[in-house]
Amino acid sequence: MRDDDPNLKVSEDKPESSRVSRRDFLKISGISVAVPLVAGPQTVLAAGEEVPVHGPGKVPMEFTINGKSYKANLEPRVTLLDALRDEFELTGAKRVCDRAECGACTVLMENKPVYACSVLAIEAQRKPITTVEALMQNGKLHPVQQAFVDSDASQCGFCTPGFVVACKAFLDKHPQPSPEDVRRGLSGNLCRCGTYHGIQQVIAQMAQKGA
């Protein structure tokens, strides 16, 4: 902490909030500050305004995943994927490339598909998250999942949960997709065993049902 900077002083008594807006983030990243290794509430005065600062130690976070509330103390650098897998043992989303290239970690955030490896957990708070685990209802597979089973669209199965979530989100948005829509809309998920033939059949089968 540079205590010779008059614009920068830590206020220790602010209530905890782990919401960092983009504007706040820009302000923080514009100043030079070394935050001590303690968890808990802090704000810094930057550009004449008080901005909450989180971490680098663990901070309490709260999530809504598959309709349930989850709490954990996590460092702000923890990704949503690692929080899901290592903290909450929701291991359906897989860690493969860990940098938004393969789609194996696809989950829904506010109903939109995202790469969970590239969303910080801290940013996913208060946004409803849906993982592959929630698609099955009362022991019954979701129609997209059933279509994956029928079309033999998984082999080793490691890309499958991500693909299932991506397909569901895609079909929700495009109930009657053209082959071109499918190519573009599902090109963000990669498979190594080569199950794309089955996945094409899944989409064809679902589109027919939607008709």
């Binding site: 989303a93 033999d152 299932v164 090109s187 998920n189 498979c191 080569g194 199950t195 033939h197």
Partner: protein, 787 residues
């Protein structure tokens, strides 16, 4: 003697049908647990410091700061001062900490100094005269080979061929074993010829690996009326398993290890971990439910599997997880060797191939590598060939589906396709004419070639090269042939029928996503006449009877045979107990549709449950085995053919190749499950499109590191790259009675060659090397225009 033979088509209720994969619901719902998903109580997270240099000696390692960092529970030097490092990314220090962040921070605090050494990461054509004869091997050479993960069989071949410089003591042999030498390697060393005079010469990067002659090549070329010459090649690619390599190990007491590991070889892991960890193999418990891809790269516990166990011990036996990061997975966890060749091939005017000559080279990393089986499929009567292995610092090679065959297919089928073009012959006619030198499978190839031609519409689509160049895009078609062995690996299973009618089957095998679980259940259920759901199958654990590693397309042969023998014996033992209640002899009984009944008399029948109640209090357990000479016949077989065709469209402005259609016609004896067999072929075609168009492990000559160790620049085919795929499995008479043969390797062999040939047909000129990237296509077009 009970009849173990496969039932004929009329008596099969499940075998040969299209059956939905039993583990699909678990996979599509995210419930299937992979090694990476295992979360043990108190689990620590491991991270690894890797060497940034392709060839170096470790000078010093300072872990003092890392050891004091918060959350760090153990620090383990994997390769300390003095160690020679042969590729960038090799493991130096491992850290276990309470979470990944703490482990990562600790890695950043470790200081290592290296002495950098000269390196080679190129696999370009060796300079003239550079190749050296391999001399006798010293124990240091053999230890280096172990360090470099040279496959056991390759080591045995070299030891047998070149001999050794000094007789090793039993202590040295023991040390080699703890470094990973297999018993076959140790036996080869014990039996090797001794050349005590031969000192260790300075090793060249280029080693003469093979020189063979067949027939009279000079006479052959003299008789040839048309000769075609060209250069062809296929680069190093990676396995890129989506679930990276790794394990979670914990010590349940001082000398008992429990490990979850991502492996193709559940039963084979303890034997490979015992020596390095200095505990008996019986004290090592291995478990795996599902594996996220292996493709030939996951047979061993690997250096990281050993140190994961070691670091767990340092951390008071707590579970430690080390799964490779994606970049490490691509850099160090295995690669397919490259192969290139200058090929000259000659034929008579009528198309009869008479002579072959090749100078080939390639690299499998520090271990070099052998010559692919060229000329492939077609045994050309007169041959001269020599191969140079390049030993370099790109990282170790591993078996990649059908080791050496995709390379052989590219080198051979592309050279022969160019010869057909020079003869102005349609390749289907040209290859068809030469099928008599594909013995013993010429009839199968002939049948498959005709079916493939029909399914592709070859006659309508084929045109002579270069007669298709109007407009911006051009189309072409290509064909390739392949072969593979198969047979069944050794496999044991225990099948138990309980007095309440429930049935379980235990086997230490694994399902790589090929449908192994489903096929085991189909065979057992078909034999016992009960539904698949009535049988509880447990695999993936060393507490179950051992079953072989899943490699070389041997799994389905092994597991289906042991299951069949076990199920037949269990059924017959049940018949013996039930017969008195039905007033019949045991051999008059059959089990069909959930009943046990007298053949031809449905009035004398018991439900399965009633029948099983005759067992008394104790369940009935039998052991099924493969192979089992006492229980003939052999239920598996070896040797398949296979023909594939590709149709491509090439944009001659941009050089972009799109595959439009692929056809695979494949035999594999008796198909157990038609649905998963077809999926296996679809998947192989897609993997083939991927390596034909996109995949290459690109090495940076300036730093010796892999440039594209991520999934953006190590490109896999996506949904957008997938054309119309047509798969035709050869079944029925002539195929079913051969027995069960594996399918993991054969269909992935031909796509590279078929697609390259289709591109040559489209653009009128050969693109020498895979992958067929736009720059290479444009360069080939430019050369043609300039010629």
């Amino acid at each position: 003697m009970p009849d173990y033979a496969w039932p004929d088509a009329e008596h099969r209720t499940l075998i040969g049908k299209r059956i939905t994969r039993v583990d699909s619901p678990a996979k599509v719902s995210g419930q299937a647990k992979y090694t990476y998903d295992v979360h043990r109580p108190g689990m620590l997270y491991g991270k690894v410091l890797r060497c940034p240099y392709p060839h170096a000696k470790v000078v010093s390692v300072d872990t003092s700061a890392a050891e004091k960092m918060p959350g760090v529970k153990a620090v383990h030097i994997v390769q300390g001062p003095g160690a020679n490092i042969h590729w960038a990314g090799d493991d130096i220090v491992a850290v276990a900490a309470v979470d990944e962040r703490a482990a990562e921070d600790a890695i950043g605090a470790i200081k290592v100094t290296y002495q950098q050494l000269p390196y080679l990461v190129s696999d370009a054509e060796p300079p003239q005269g550079a190749a050296q004869e391999q001399g006798p091997l010293s124990m240091d050479d053999i230890d280096d080979m172990l360090d470099n993960q040279v496959p056991s069989q390759q080591m045995v071949n070299q030891i047998q061929q070149y001999g050794i410089t000094a007789k090793p003591t039993e202590d040295i042999l023991k040390m080699l074993k703890s470094d990973g030498a297999t018993d076959a390697v140790l036996d080869a060393i014990r039996a090797a010829t001794l050349h005590p005079g031969a000192g260790t010469q300075t090793k060249s990067n280029y080693q003469k690996a093979a020189a063979q002659t067949l027939g009279d090549p000079d006479k052959g070329f003299a008789e040839a009326e048309v000769v075609s010459e060209g250069v062809y090649g296929i680069p190093v690619i990676t396995h890129c398993c989506l679930e990276s390599h790794g394990s979670i190990s914990e010590w349940t007491d001082e000398d008992h290890l429990f490990t979850h590991i991502s492996t193709q070889n559940v039963s084979g892991i303890p034997g490979q971990m015992a020596e390095p960890l200095k505990i008996p193999a019986t004290n090592i418990h291995v478990h795996q439910d599902h594996i996220g891809g292996g493709f030939g790269s996951k047979f061993s516990p690997d250096r990281w599997g050993i140190y994961t166990a070691e670091i767990s011990k340092k951390a008071d036996g707590k579970p430690v997880r080390v799964m490779l990061e994606r970049d490490a997975e691509l850099k160090v966890a295995g690669a397919r060797p490259s192969a290139y060749a200058r090929v000259k091939v000659g034929a008579k005017k009528d198309g009869t191939i008479v002579a072959w000559q090749s100078e080939s080279w390639g690299t499998g990393g520090p271990g070099g590598g052998g010559m692919p089986p060229i000329p492939y499929v077609f045994t050309i009567p007169n041959q001269r060939k020599q191969h140079t292995a390049i030993r370099n610092n790109i990282g170790p090679a591993r078996a990649w589906r059908a080791p050496n065959h995709p390379q052989a297919a590219v080198l051979t089928m592309c050279a022969l396709d160019d010869l057909a073009a020079k003869l102005n012959m349609d390749p289907v006619e040209f290859f068809g004419k030469n099928l008599d030198i594909t013995k013993p499978r010429q009839d199968i190839y002939r049948e498959e070639l005709a079916i493939a031609s029909d399914l592709m519409g070859w006659k309508q689509k084929w045109h002579p090269r270069g007669q298709n160049e109007s407009g911006g895009t051009v189309r072409g078609v290509g064909v390739s042939f392949h072969t593979w062995g198969g047979r069944g690996h050794s496999s044991d299973c225990d099948l138990t029928i309980h007095p309440d009618g429930s049935v379980d089957l235990k086997m230490g095998s694994q399902d790589l996503g090929t449908g192994t679980r489903t096929c085991i259940l189909m065979v057992a259920a078909d034999t016992l006449g009960i539904p698949m759901e009535a049988i509880q199958l447990q695999i993936g654990d060393t507490n179950y009877p051992r079953s072989g590693g899943s490699g070389g397309s041997t799994t389905i042969g092994g597991v289906s045979s042991s299951t069949r023998r076990g199920a037949v014996d269990a059924r017959d033992a049940l018949f013996a107990k039930v017969a008195p209640s039905l007033n019949a002899q045991p051999d008059q009984l059959e089990c069909v549709n959930g009943t046990v009944r007298v053949k031809g008399d449905s009035s004398k029948s018991l439900s399965w449950k009633e029948a099983c109640s005759k067992l008394g209090a104790m369940p009935l357990t039998v052991r099924g085995k493969n192979p089992d000479k006492d229980k003939p016949p052999d239920l598996t077989n070896s040797g398949v053919g296979g023909v594939q065709m590709a149709e491509v469209e090439v944009d001659i402005e941009t050089g972009i190749v799109k595959v439009k259609k692929m056809v695979a016609v494949q035999d594999c004896g008796l198909v157990v499950n038609l649905k998963t067999a077809e999926s296996q072929c679809h998947g192989a075609l897609i993997m083939g499109i991927s390596y034909a168009l996109f995949e290459e492990k690109v090495m940076d000559q300036a730093t010796g590191r892999m440039l594209n160790a991520d999934m953006q620049f190590y490109r896999l085919a996506g949904l957008n790259d997938i054309p119309e795929l047509v798969v035709h499995m050869m079944t029925g008479k002539g195929y079913d009675e051969r027995g069960v043969i594996g399918l993991g390797e054969p269909p992935v062999i031909s796509p590279g060659a078929a697609i390259s040939n289709a591109v040559a047909n489209a653009i009128g000129v050969r693109v020498s090397f895979l992958p067929l990237t736009p720059d290479r296509v444009l360069a080939a077009l430019g050369q043609k225009a300039g010629a």
